[in-house]
Each structure stands twice: as structure tokens, then as C-alpha cells.
């Protein structure tokens, strides 16, 4: 079993080393790039990036990492991502239509990479698309900040079922609590309503859940650096 420590940086994405062999691993890809285990690949664990409020409502028995008092002065302030968006980068990809520090949701499926500008997701709230041959749904949570990606159900025939978001602007707390287990979007093919966990809460598909798809929230320069053939969602 390997354990890891921070060891360096490669074009603004950090490098770590395992304590057992001293091999260097790239954070964003989980790939060993130098050392005895060079070429090995860490297995990705599915994770969500959610607001604490939404996660707490979905997983009331979950546990949270404790802060370490003597280091907490170094923890980021609330506005860290606003300040970070102004920090310069060492890589740029001009003529791609995106700035280095633009935030994207990066998805890899069926051998293809695709980047979805976060702004577009926040505006659209529900996006239907394909990554390679894989139909996907990108859904903005009822907190208007958390994002999940699901495999859209396979349909017989050429058309993919259309999905519609059903929750409008959500008032705080009580409604949010109700909405997290309640309907967030519906599909035209079966008339089922689905919640933010991707499970149908009513209709023909009630009780079934859509498979989740791993997605990475990343800066455009970093996503593009590790996925040179990536396409960009521009609708």
C-alpha cells in the first residue's frame, strides 16, 4: 500500500512522491512519471465537488475532515478562487477561445475528452451532450453550485430522451432540504422525475438511478495541457 507526500510542481499542477518507492506521481492524472513505478496509474475514485450544505443533507451520517489548529491560519479564505483567477499561468493556449484561468468541467468518456465552461453550466443548469459516443447529462444542483454528470439512458432509435430542469430558483434551507431528495429534472421519454442523485423519484423509471460519470473541475490551461485533443462545448 502506498502513502504520499507533496514533492514538487509541474506546470502548476503538483507532483507527489510515495513514501515507499520515492516514485513521482502527477496529481491531475494519477500517473507515475519518474522513479521505480514509472508508468503506473493510480485508480481514480469517484468524487463529487458539492457545497457542504447539500452534502450534509444527502449524507447526514457522513464525516468531515477536521482542521489542524496550528495550520488553519494557512487555510484559504472564502474568496480564494476569485483571487486565484487573477494569478498568472505559465501555460497558455491562445486561439482556443478560452482563457487560461477559465474554469471548465472536464469529462473523459469513450476515449474522448471534452471541456464544458463552468459559466455555461451555471447558466444552462442542465446540459445534454455527448462525449464521444456517450450521451451525458450535466446537472446543476438545487444549491446552484454543485454539479453532477450522469450517463443519459440508452434509447432505442436515434433520438436521446430530452431532459428538462424542473426546479426554479431555490429559497434557502427548508426548500433546499426538501429539494435535495426531491425532483430536480424530468425526461420526456418516460415522464419520470429525477433528483440530484440521478435517481427517479416518480414516473415509469421510479427507483432506478442513472450511472454517474467522473468529471474534473479544472482551469482550462491544465485540462488542455493533459488533454491536448479535448473538444470544447460551445453551445
Amino acid at each position: 500500500m502506498l502513502s504520499f507526500h507533496l514533492a514538487g510542481i509541474n506546470n502548476q499542477n503538483f507532483l507527489m512522491r510515495d513514501d515507499q518507492t520515492g516514485t513521482f506521481w502527477q496529481q491531475i492524472s494519477g500517473r507515475a512519471i519518474s522513479g521505480p513505478l514509472e508508468g503506473s496509474q493510480l485508480e481514480l475514485v469517484y468524487s463529487d465537488e458539492l457545497t457542504f450544505g447539500l452534502w450534509r443533507d444527502e449524507q447526514p451520517k457522513g464525516t468531515v475532515l477536521k482542521p489542524i489548529a496550528k495550520y488553519s491560519a494557512g487555510y484559504e479564505a472564502k474568496d480564494w478562487d476569485t483571487r486565484m483567477s487573477k494569478v498568472r499561468t505559465v501555460l497558455g493556449f491562445p486561439h482556443t477561445g478560452l482563457q487560461s484561468r477559465d474554469l471548465v468541467l472536464g469529462i473523459e468518456a469513450s476515449g474522448t475528452s471534452r471541456a464544458y465552461p463552468i459559466e455555461r453550466i451555471l447558466f444552462g443548469k442542465l446540459l445534454e451532450d455527448r462525449v464521444g459516443s456517450q450521451p451525458i447529462l450535466i446537472v446543476l444542483g438545487p444549491d446552484e453550485r454543485s454539479i453532477r454528470v450522469f450517463k443519459a439512458p440508452a434509447q432505442a432509435g436515434a433520438t436521446v430522451s430530452e431532459f428538462y430542469r424542473t426546479v426554479g430558483h431555490v429559497a434557502p434551507d427548508a426548500e433546499l432540504k426538501a429539494a435535495t431528495n426531491g425532483a430536480l429534472f424530468m425526461d420526456s421519454a418516460t415522464g419520470s422525475e429525477w433528483n440530484f442523485s440521478g435517481c427517479a423519484v416518480s414516473g415509469k423509471m421510479k427507483g432506478t438511478c442513472l450511472p454517474v460519470v467522473s468529471a474534473f473541475k479544472d482551469y482550462w490551461f491544465d485540462w488542455r495541457n493533459y488533454h491536448p485533443e479535448t473538444t470544447i462545448f460551445r453551445h
Binding site: 514533492a7 510542481i9 506546470n11 457542504f52 464525516t63 468531515v64 477536521k66 484559504e76
Partner: protein, 168 residues
């Protein structure tokens, strides 16, 4: 022994010591120069720097051992406090390089979290709009707050008997 041969020997020993000091310093300085934040790393120079980082601690020890031998051999032949101070300084530089090549500056900037501790959602004093990275493994749910992860960067953890490393 003829004076010429002695001074040639001393010169050879001194140059050897200087070379060892430079090699020892390069073992830490070269990777530190290449692997810097806000600097573009080319793939070849990065590969070389990572290789140097891996062999550096051992090369450093060898340099210290060798320079000590050279210092001992040359000591009776060195006259005057200036040359002797220079030899001591050269040995010190070699030791310094070997020590620094074992230093991890990144962990000095971002202290590791060590054994992670956890609390319930009720105990956690996090704002509801702060982001967390959430996983579910073996029926257990765990959340890693982004503002804390942005400092520690790495948390070695076991969730539901599954060893994982959370990174941000």
C-alpha cells in the same frame, strides 16, 4: 618530496574537493531551479531534474565521504589559515548540499496533515456554501473541505477499508 610534486598534489586534491562540493550543491540546486512554481517545465528538463532528485541524497553522501577523505589527505600539505579555511569551507558546502538535497521545501510551505481526524457534520464549523470533495466508499461517506485541502494538498486516508489519497 620535491616541492613541485607536493603543490601539484595539493592542487589536485583541492580541485577534487571543489568539484565534489559543486556536484553536491548541484544535486539540490538543479531540481530546485527547474521545479519552481510560476515556471514552465519542459518535459526533458523535468525528467532530468526528477532523476537528480532521486539520486541526489545518495550522491550527496558519497560526495561528503570523498571530500572528507580529500580534506584529511591534503590537510598536512596545506599551509596557512586561508587555504585551510577554504578547505573547511569546501567541506561545509559539500555537507550543506547533501543536507539540502534531503530537504523537502514543499512540505515546509504546505505542512502535511499527518493522520487525518474526522468529525460529524454537526460538529464541523464549515459554512454551508463552502465546497467539499465528497466520496462514498464501503458504505461510508466522507467530505474533505476544499479550503483546507488547498493548503495540505494531500490526505492519506482509509474509507470503508479502502486506502485512498485525497488530493487537491
Amino acid at each position: 618530496m620535491p616541492v613541485d610534486a607536493t603543490s601539484r598534489t595539493v592542487r589536485f586534491l583541492a580541485l577534487g574537493a571543489a568539484a565534489l562540493a559543486l556536484i553536491s550543491l548541484a544535486c539540490f540546486a538543479f531540481p530546485l531551479y527547474v521545479i519552481r512554481p510560476f515556471r514552465h517545465q519542459g518535459s526533458t528538463e523535468l525528467a532530468v531534474a526528477l532523476f537528480v532528485k532521486q539520486i541526489g541524497p545518495w550522491v550527496g553522501i558519497c560526495c561528503v565521504a570523498l571530500v572528507s577523505v580529500l580534506a584529511i589527505l591534503s590537510w598536512p600539505r596545506i599551509r596557512g589559515w586561508v587555504p585551510r579555511s577554504l578547505m573547511i569551507f569546501t567541506v561545509a558546502l559539500t555537507i550543506g548540499g547533501a543536507y539540502l538535497s534531503r530537504l523537502n521545501v514543499y512540505e515546509l510551505m504546505f505542512h502535511p496533515i499527518g493522520e487525518p481526524q474526522f468529525q460529524t457534520s454537526q460538529e464541523a464549523s464549515i459554512d454551508k456554501d463552502d465546497m467539499v470533495i465528497a466520496v462514498r466508499l464501503g458504505g461510508l461517506s466522507r467530505a474533505y473541505p476544499v479550503r483546507e485541502m488547498a493548503y495540505h494538498h494531500i490526505v492519506n486516508d482509509t474509507v470503508g477499508a479502502e486506502p485512498i489519497v485525497a488530493t487537491y
